[in-house]
Symmetry: C2
Subunit: 353 residues, 2 copies
């Protein structure tokens, strides 16, 4: 397999595939598309030939193949989100020989070297037999904890997410509020964030998306809690507003009640120098260093006590942990190592090693 | 291709594939799974070797491959209905050489002779480019009207649905009520059925499923209309109750407001000898003979007038139309003709004709 060299590195021809629900990066909320954006741009920056399969309203330094004109979340009929994905995979399959490696965000067979990063929760009964059947499919987890329900799947590595180092600036001084950022849904437990803030007598600013599926939950369970002088609810915020919102917080509250696969907002907070008070679920212990970059708690009582102790933490240490562990170049290096490993396996299998 | 003969007919090895949301036949509502059940049993009755890919709680005279233990509607987690379907198609692909022809209810590529019956509405923007890309995919429509949004897709025929002749008995005498049977949703317009019944001063019995997606619509728009002495609402009814329910009606009201792809309940009514008052949309003019087996109307006013004229129609003529046009043996014959045509094409293409 002849591959070009550039200033001493092997240039890989990489296809990055994104879901079509959001653009890359997403206009608003959208973890998977955001990670694909960061990884793609970093691989281009490092000199690789990257082709991004995504919606036409995506913004990228890679070559863009517009698999659908616009983010389905905004342009789709809502009746068939699957059809555009099928078309994208069909197009990709017909061009598989243009790429050394294809990186999917969903399970997909392909002739040629490919791998799939699973971005979602995996504690879903239907997935157990699926991944037994597709045990030969190379999979990447975004935390070790994410693998728990499917220990027998074809895992080849865990790659924690990363952010561009300059995306969010360090904010040395906390403002006078706690922050909750993300989605309103039962597993995110914004109700606990509200209870913590009120118990501590601190302001809580909530910036969160409400999906249509969670509208009833929001109206019935959450809306009544918002009517309190310490609580301020904003809707979904754009990327541009995130730094001001997070950076000014004394702490990010992350009172989740589900097996969080990664939790991007935790590293966004760390990038701003903001400690995280998080419940012990899923990826949390892999991301937060308890007592250093935040507190890991197991109950509401713990969480209230921890939130009161936040001023004892050093915001510079949060930023330093971000730079060391969650920078995009580390993420790209991890993926490049996996790409090379799969390419080596393929060369070995085909006897061309 | 060597194929066994049985009493003079060519025995085909046919794989029938069903969606996994319901069993085959469905316990309650479920048009696609019902048609697959009728067709499968009729093909077996005619001597073909039929293998049914469906859920394990299906009941069939064919060989059953249980692609998932139970109907997903009742057993699934609700988080990933796609996974069991992917597994089924993977299993089928690995066994494709066991079958002369594979009959899908969804679009699917396969090595070997295969075709897909599209059961749903097709006026969905995402489908236009999909079917351009898959224009070589042999498709069957369940009415000519269903094709309107996708005239350029790979249509090979229209096959109207059929029912076993003995499934529903002829009921010569009408009871004292109108019937509405199916689903409560905005496009089914049960509100119009209620308005028609009240305007005519006739009882209306409604037997209908309310999907979770339609729960708000039902509570807000429909529930208040049910509180009237002429209106009687039952929930979803099982197959066994259908004949009593339909057979006793003086007419079936079918006041739809969408491009109905087929409308199984219309032929179920005809089988019982019950005329249909239907709005002119989708398949309606292909199924109902206006002035003979029912009335096709264009407005609420028309519908009320037509419902008053129902006693002028002959219930025997409805039953006769059913037997002539919507019997399962006619449906099976139509499909067998298409299977043979595709097999002949394949033989011709491979030069083995």
């Amino acid at each position: 397999m002849a591959r070009p060299f550039l200033f001493g590195i092997v240039v890989l021809r990489i296809a990055q595939v994104a879901p079509l629900v959001e653009s890359v990066p997403p206009r608003l909320y959208g973890g998977t598309e955001r990670v694909v954006a960061y990884l793609t741009d970093e691989l281009v920056r490092q000199g690789h030939q990257v082709t991004l399969f995504a919606t036409g309203d995506s913004i990228t330094s890679a070559r863009l193949v517009a698999a659908w004109p616009e983010a389905l979340r905004f342009s789709g009929s809502g009746y068939d989100d699957l059809a555009p994905h099928i078309m994208m995979l069909e197009e990709l399959a017909s061009r598989a020989d243009e790429f050394d490696v294809v990186h999917f965000p969903m399970v997909q067979r392909l002739d040629g070297v490919h791998l799939t990063t699973l971005h979602g929760r995996l504690d879903i009964p239907e997935l157990v037999p699926l991944f037994e059947m597709f045990a030969d499919m190379p999979l990447v987890s975004i935390s070790d904890a994410q693998r728990d329900p499917l220990p027998e799947a074809g895992w080849i590595g865990t790659v924690h997410h990363g952010l561009p180092r300059t995306l969010l600036d360090f904010h040395p001084e906390p403002g006078g509020y706690l922050a909750f950022l993300g989605r309103i849904s039962p597993e995110k437990r914004v109700d606990r964030a509200i209870a913590i803030a009120i118990a501590c007598g601190q302001r809580l600013r909530i910036a969160a998306k409400v999906d249509r599926a969670d509208r009833t939950y929001f109206e019935q369970e959450i809306r009544p809690l918002l009517d309190h002088p310490l609580i301020e609810f904003t809707g979904e915020i754009a990327d541009a507003q995130k730094e001001e919102f997070l950076g000014g917080a004394s702490a990010l509250l992350f009172p989740i009640d589900w097996p969080e696969p990664f939790g991007m907002v935790m590293i966004e907070a760390l990038a701003c120098g903001v400690p995280v008070v998080a419940f012990r679920h899923g990826s949390v212990p892999e991301v937060i260093d308890d007592g250093a970059t935040g507190f890991i708690v197991e109950s509401l009582e713990d969480a209230i006590a921890a939130t009161r102790r936040v001023p004892t933490l050093d915001r510079r240490r949060c930023r330093a942990a971000f730079e060391r562990r969650f920078d995009v170049s580390r993420m790209a290096a991890d993926y490049l190592r996996l790409y090379e490993e799969l390419l080596a396996r393929r060369r070995f299998a085909s006897g061309a090693a």
